[in-house]
Amino acid sequence: MLKTFRADLHIHTCLSPCGDLEMTPSAIVKEAKRRGLDIIGICDHNSAENIMATQRAGQKEGITVIAGIEVTSAEEVHILALFNDSAKAIQLQTIVYEHLLPGVNNEATFGEQVVVNEDDEVLEFNQRLLIGATSLSLQKVVASIHSLSGLAMAAHIDRQAFGIIGQLGFVPADSGLDGMEVSPRISCQEARVKFPQANNFGLVTFSDAHYLQDIGKAFTQFLIKEPVLEEIYKALKNKDGRQIIL
């Protein structure tokens, strides 16, 4: 029995330097529930440290929280990495940290990077330069995600800055990407016209929320059996009747 699930799989927490400090686990899941979302994804920049707290907060509210990271490739392309297990996201984080631009975050310039628990209590401030890029090429990022059974999507392809088309000019034929995301600035239909290469991929739209009020500003409906990554993967590939409903 397939059902429709409303998903916003690209949400930042207060761990992202550019994420609002109000983007705490419990606040995020409450707002997501209020907006009628069934599944959310936590994708902070180059870090997975607030995922488990948000998943625990999600359990309390009965909302599925998928583990993710928004990885910055060497070309400064943003790639969404989504996993069915937070442990896999942590493994990707290890690879990302090994290849992240060295340096200490400048909180005054980029913003604070707050690691919190499910009750929104501050555990620590991440000192890494999460705003920076990794030295991993796009291909290496995608390969690393796939080696951990994750799903790799190009983020906000309509944005010139940090979108795959803006940074690289076009999508490489061997990108290996499982899907593409457009930002709330443009509809999927418009994106298919403007970026014909997107027609080769499952195309979704998420909010890329950095502020509470932006959660669910864009979401994608998946016709799937249950709210798990394997089902979302099938919907992206249009397999077994699973699909993206626009």
Binding site: T72, E75, Q160
Partner: protein
């Protein structure tokens, strides 16, 4: 040779978008790149930075690296939130009609050669 931003603006006919009160800053050299992480890794304090990126992150990077000023090439216009951020952070944003190649050549001819 030590040059001030004001002289560069005058010689290269740059349009001053923000920071017209900071044109007495002395330039230590230049860096040209459109990859922000590359600028974060390699630009030096007091450099003039030549880029085509117009989003607000350029101001954050310029602030971090204590860049003397940003020159946008090809007549590109900074986004509105970039301008607001630049005013707030006191980062001069200048616009040239030239391409990066021509602009860097002109800067070299003026004597800005990282020597």
């Amino acid at each position: 040779m030590v040059m001030k931003l004001r002289e560069i603006v005058k010689e290269l006919n740059l349009e001053v978008k923000t920071g017209d009160d900071r044109l007495n800053t002395e330039i230590t050299g230049g860096y040209a790149s459109d990859l922000l992480s590359d600028v974060m890794a390699n630009a030096q304090k007091g450099n003039i930075w030549i880029t085509l990126q117009i989003h607000q992150n350029i101001v954050a990077v310029a602030t971090l690296k204590e860049i003397a000023g940003i020159i946008l090439v090809n007549g590109r216009c900074p986004e509105e939130d970039t301008l607001q951020k630049a005013i707030q952070e006191k980062i001069p944003i200048l616009v040239s009609k030239l391409s990066t190649f021509e602009l860097v050549g002109s800067l070299y001819q003026l004597g800005i050669n990282n020597a």
